[in-house]
């Protein structure tokens, strides 16, 4: 009797579980068939009335039925849960092509980037970075650089004077004189001096009353013009491409003797001639030379013991050449559409 009942329960339970559509129905089935007051428990309770031969047989069957039902419930639960997860994931699907939440960063100014690049290159060559005042004494801006009071190159008209003896520096070269003085006649001196300079110019596409300069100075025993040539070659290749060549042309600056102008082979056409190099194959990049003995002497260095080279360049010019920028005023108007273009520079 009990045996038949168990078999019937098994069939009922398996059907119930099989047709359960949700976790709730499955839970109900669990309580109904395996709960403490469930039919299988009932069967086990009624076992006392059975004979000792029947008892183990029915007992074993009851346990088997119970185990089977429990196993089927677990199977079904796993199946239902998997379905649920799948459904949830399906509902969480998004358009992955929608734009993300960007962190808007600002951009570096192109001139700052160029100055950093030059600084880092020369740090690698053993140079330090020196800065100096922008309001400068006439002595450091001119006299100490071999530009005595009546020199034609220091026309009052070209400089912003504050008093007779003070002016907005017209170049970064006075930092040379300050630095040499600090070293009290003992080399080596290896510095790069970047900074703002000021000239009495009307602002237009190619002139700015304020602009940047980067000056370099190397003073030591036996510094040669060939060393200048070597260092500038490294610079030109670093800034403008490994296949650049340089040439030095004689020029004139009061603070160097000999003085040279450095050209690089045109990075646009490679030297064949184009509109960037105006057909010459060469682009003028910077002025340089061997430090004038008067400059060394005035700043406490003995020109019989020391020689040196100096060079000066304009970051604006480098930027304009490199990127084809047509108007120097862009650097100081700071239009964000201009600035952003050079964030990677």
């Amino acid at each position: 009797m009990l045996k038949e009942k168990l078999l019937e329960l098994r069939a009922q339970a398996l059907e119930n579980i099989g047709s359960a559509e949700g976790l709730k129905a499955l839970q109900d089935a669990h309580i109904r068939f395996l709960g403490k007051k469930g039919p299988i428990t009932e069967v086990l309770k009624g076992m006392g009335k059975l004979s000792s031969e029947e008892r183990p047989v029915v007992g074993q069957l009851a346990n088997e039925v119970r185990k089977l039902i429990a196993a089927r419930i677990e199977e079904k639960r796993a199946e239902l849960e998997a379905k649920l997860i799948e459904k949830k994931l399906e509902s969480e699907k998004i358009d992955v092509t929608l734009p993300g939440r960007k962190i808007a960063t600002g951009s570096s100014h192109l001139l700052g980037s160029i100055i950093r690049e030059v600084e880092d290159l020369f740090i690698g060559l053993g140079f330090s970075i020196e800065e100096g005042p922008e309001v400068e004494q006439d002595y450091y801006n001119f006299e100490a650089l071999n530009l005595p009071k009546d020199h034609p190159a220091r026309d009052m008209q070209d400089s912003f004077y504050i008093t007779d003896e003070l002016l907005m520096r017209t170049h970064t070269s006075p930092v040379q004189a300050h630095t040499l003085e600090k070293h009290k006649g003992v080399g080596p001196v290896k510095v790069i001096c970047p900074g703002k300079v000021y000239r009495r110019d009307n602002d237009d596409a190619t002139h700015s009353h304020q602009f940047m300069q980067i000056e370099g100075l190397y003073v030591d025993h036996n510094v040669r013009l060939s060393d200048l040539k070597g260092v500038l070659t490294v610079f030109a290749k670093h800034m403008f491409g490994a296949d650049r060549e340089i040439r030095l042309r004689p020029s004139f600056f009061p603070f160097t003797e000999p003085s040279v102008e450095m050209d690089i082979s045109c990075f646009r056409c490679g030297g064949h001639g184009c509109n960037v190099c105006k057909g010459t194959g060469w682009i003028e990049i910077l002025g340089a030379g061997m430090v004038h003995p008067n400059v060394l002497r005035m700043s406490g260095f003995d020109p019989n013991e020391y020689t040196g080279f100096a060079f000066g360049m304009g970051p604006e010019r480098i930027a304009m050449l490199k990127y084809g920028i047509e108007d120097i005023r862009h650097f100081y108007t700071d239009d964000i559409r201009f600035l952003k273009q050079f964030n990677r520079a």
């Binding site: 734009p99 600002g106 570096s108 504050i162 009495r200």
Partner: protein
């Protein structure tokens, strides 16, 4: 300096050296040839014609019918020039020819008469009208009679020439004349210069009988010489001279004037001619002008002089501003017969000052300013006398009347010849070095290691051994010098701590969304006095001679410039922008003309916090956006615990949304909202700014890093909500909490501020999260409670705070 290739050929053999090649070589040796002009470029079919007959055109009063022999044929040409006449040799553009502006000449019928070509004016051949001599200005050009009929006309007009434009710097003033250029080119090409010494045919009459000279200003007039010339007939100068002057950019006037200009171009020595009969005395006195002394110059202008100017006088009144411009009263005219020719040397600085003050820069003054060949002054006077004899019918009186030394000795430089190699890094032999200097016509003697170099006076720019290094380097060619890397001792390199941390600040600003700008240091006086961190009742530093009011004073703050940048963007429909700048400000110091310079960091933000996107509009930036940036800065510099914010009122900022930034009790900057009025004036939306005196902050900031072990024991977090009067600030509560938190309180963070119906109208609630921690053990509840109660108690006591229920 415009250099005629054809003229130059007279001094140096240029065979095999094209104008382009020559220009290249000159440039590479140090004087930039800015461009080459070919005046005859594009001209074709211009021949020398002879006007055989010239008759009135039957139908037109102003036209002539000319029969012109072109060598191969004789053709009829209609010509409208008033100066055309039979017997003239003239430039003819034949049928098919090209004249200036690429105009093609065709056979034409003019008022019924056939014209087979055109007789040309100089303008029609491309000459600049400004340089055309007046005798040809309104008509055709006429050749000398010895020009062969039928020949190509261009060579006889120097239209087969090439003109090299040399950019003369202070260092190359020796090339401001043809002889100087000849020496330079000869050195470059390793050639000899061919010069003819002027030959003067003097009469027995003694010049010093007619004129005497005295110089008062001897320090500024090392030499003053004069020649006397009589019997002159003023007329046009010879055509070859006219053409050379035109090529050099000088307009031919008359033989006397042209000759003095020509000799200046040739020798570099400015000359001046006085009409002797108008001179007013027989004595030349050179002296300083009197203060406000007046003289009328050649251009008809009355010039007021100062005692710094040099004046040529006849002993009483001025007849010329020395070295700058002659006087009207003694000007050579068409009737001049007797001429006093001045050849003098004046102090360059004096001439420069006078020319600049009178705004009278002439060919003469620019040569005096840059320096002359001191030893050419007598030769130039002789050359002018020679030419005046040949082309102006002059008789030259005997001798040069003079004051001062006519010549000076050559400059001597002694140096070890090896120094040239040491400085250049080259390996030239002694012979190469000496040879190069000799190419420059320097005299060189070598004694063992030393060389003694005599430098001619024309190279007044060469004075020290380094100058000789340059001369050898540039003539030998820098391209032949190797490129080496320095062999000297190694040095410590790198950024200073300040430079390093400044770069970090730049990156940090950019990572918070601010873009870097550079703005001008010079600004208007008004803006230079605005938004100053420490306003100090002193005028900003100003430049004495500004270009404009916009750039007249030195900024004391960066903020006004940033406002301008934002304004620029707002005017161009870019309302959401954020910028920063690190740069110098210039703070006036009482009693000192020189301002103190320090670097400040300033920032400005306006518009939306983030870009508008598909999730909806972002909120606008506000005070706490800019404060967050400032706090991030101080966090990253590890100085946040020294910083305090205090409400303040500043001009141009919102009185209720402005705070001073203090470090250790000292104001180092501020932040706040722009005043609504400033926003309106600039057409801006809500805009927020900050400025920090960042240089002293960075220089005295924390650099060393203190490492702490990772915690081994848990911390305890307690939240606390306090109700206070609205006047109590967050920083008041924060301070009391920290002061009473003992060493166990590790951090305090405000996480909620509430004002509204659940608290009284004049009250607010602020909730803080407090973290307690002991590195040595786990804290018990009782320990934490004790501290926590102490804090609550202190807040109640000091700030009237009540725990919110």
């Amino acid at each position: 300096m415009l250099v005629s290739y054809k003229w130059l050929q007279e001094y140096v053999d240029l065979s095999g050296v094209t104008p382009e090649k020559l220009a290249d070589k000159i440039t590479n040796a140090g004087i930039e040839v800015e461009h080459i002009d070919y005046p005859g470029a594009g001209l074709k079919g211009i021949v020398v014609g002879e006007v055989e007959s010239c008759e009135q055109h039957p139908e037109a009063e102003k036209l002539h019918l000319c029969q012109v022999n072109l060598g191969t044929e004789s053709v009829q040409i209609v010509c409208g020039a008033p100066n055309v006449a039979a017997g003239q040799k003239v430039p003819v553009a034949t049928v098919g020819a090209r004249i200036a502006d690429n105009v093609k000449i065709k056979r034409a019928k003019l008022r019924g008469e056939i014209s087979n070509g055109m007789i040309c004016s100089l303008d029609e051949l491309g000459f600049d009208h400004n340089y055309v001599p007046k005798e040809y200005a309104d008509g055709i050009y006429v050749f000398d009679n010895d020009v062969p009929v039928g020949a190509d006309a261009l060579p006889y007009l120097n239209l087969d020439d090439a003109i090299l434009d040399l950019d003369i710097l202070v260092s190359s003033a020796h090339c401001m004349n043809m002889i100087g250029v000849a020496y330079e080119v000869a050195a470059i090409l390793d050639q000899k210069v061919q010069l003819k010494k002027p030959v003067v045919d003097e009469t027995d009459q003694i010049a010093s009988d007619k004129i005497s000279i005295s110089v008062e200003a001897t320090d500024k007039v090392p030499y003053y010489g004069a020649r006397m010339l009589t019997g002159i007939k003023v007329a046009p100068s010879p055509r070859w001279m006219q053409l050379r002057l035109i090529a050099a950019g000088v307009r031919p006037i008359s033989n006397v004037v042209d000759i003095s200009n020509y000799v200046m171009l040739e020798y570099g020595q400015p000359l001046h001619t006085f009409d002797y009969d108008q001179f007013g005395s027989d004595h030349v006195l050179v002296r300083h002008a009197g203060e406000n002394e007046e003289v009328t110059t050649l251009d008809g202008q009355l010039r007021k002089l100062t005692s710094e100017d040099l004046l040529i006088t006849n002993g009483k009144k001025g007849v010329a501003v020395a070295g700058v411009m002659g006087g009207e009263n003694t000007e050579v005219s068409s009737t001049t017969e007797n001429v006093l020719l001045e050849a003098a040397v004046f102090d360059p600085i004096s001439i420069r000052k006078t020319a600049a003050r009178l705004q009278l820069r002439s060919d003469a003054s620019s040569r005096y300013e840059k320096g002359l060949d001191r030893n050419r002054v007598g030769l130039a006077a002789d050359r002018a006398a020679e030419l005046l004899t040949q082309f102006a019918h002059a008789t030259v009186l005997k001798g040069i009347v003079e004051a001062g030394e006519r010549t000076v000795p050559e400059h001597k430089i002694t140096m070890p010849w090896q120094k040239i190699n040491q400085v250049l890094g080259s390996e030239l032999t002694r012979e190469q070095i000496v040879g190069t200097l000799r190419r420059l016509n320097f005299t060189v003697e070598v004694a063992d290691e030393l060389m003694h170099v005599s430098v001619p006076a024309r190279r007044f720019d060469v004075t020290i051994p380094e100058d000789l290094v340059e001369e050898v380097g540039r003539i030998y060619g820098y391209n032949h010098i190797p490129a080496t890397l320095p062999e000297g001792s190694s040095t410590h390199a790198g950024l200073t701590p300040y430079q390093k941390i400044r770069r970090k600040v730049e990156r940090l600003m950019e990572s918070t969304g601010l873009s870097q700008v550079y703005t001008y240091s010079l600004t208007s006086k008004e803006s230079a006095s605005s938004y100053v961190i420490h306003d100090q009742e002193i005028e900003p530093t100003q430049v004495v001679w500004p270009m404009s009011e916009e750039h007249a004073a030195l900024r004391q703050s960066i903020v006004p410039q940033l406002v301008n940048v934002v304004n620029y963007h707002s005017n161009r429909q870019m309302p959401d922008v954020k910028f920063y700048e690190i740069g110098k400000v210039f703070l006036p110091v009482k009693g000192e003309p020189r301002p103190a310079e320090e670097e400040h960091l300033a920032g400005i933000i306006t518009g939306k916090r983030t870009e508008r996107n598909w999730e909806g509009e972002s909120a606008g930036v506000d005070f706490f956006s800019i404060k967050g940036i400032v706090e991030t800065l101080f966090d990253s510099l590890a100085v946040a615990d020294q910083i305090e914010y205090r409400p303040s009122k500043r001009d141009g900022l919102h009185p209720g949304q402005t705070a001073d930034i203090l470090r250790d009790g000292k104001v180092i900057g501020y932040l706040g909202a722009l005043h609504p009025k400033v926003q309106n004036d600039n057409g801006l939306n809500a805009t927020f700014v900050f400025e920090v005196a960042v240089e002293s902050l960075l220089r005295h900031g924390k650099t060393a890093i203190d490492y702490h072990f990772l915690p081994r024991f848990p911390s305890t977090t307690r939240d606390i909500a306090l109700v206070v009067k609205r006047t109590v600030s967050a920083s008041d509560l924060d301070r009391v909490i920290r002061e009473n938190g003992t060493s166990l309180l590790k951090s305090v963070r405000l996480f909620d501020v509430y004002e509204g119906s659940h608290v009284a109208e004049d009250e607010k609630s602020m909730a803080f999260s407090l973290v307690y921690f002991d590195p040595e053990r786990t804290l018990t509840d009782d320990e934490v409670n004790a501290v926590h109660e102490k804090i609550v108690h202190a807040c109640a006591e000091q700030l009237g705070a009540e725990l919110r229920g």
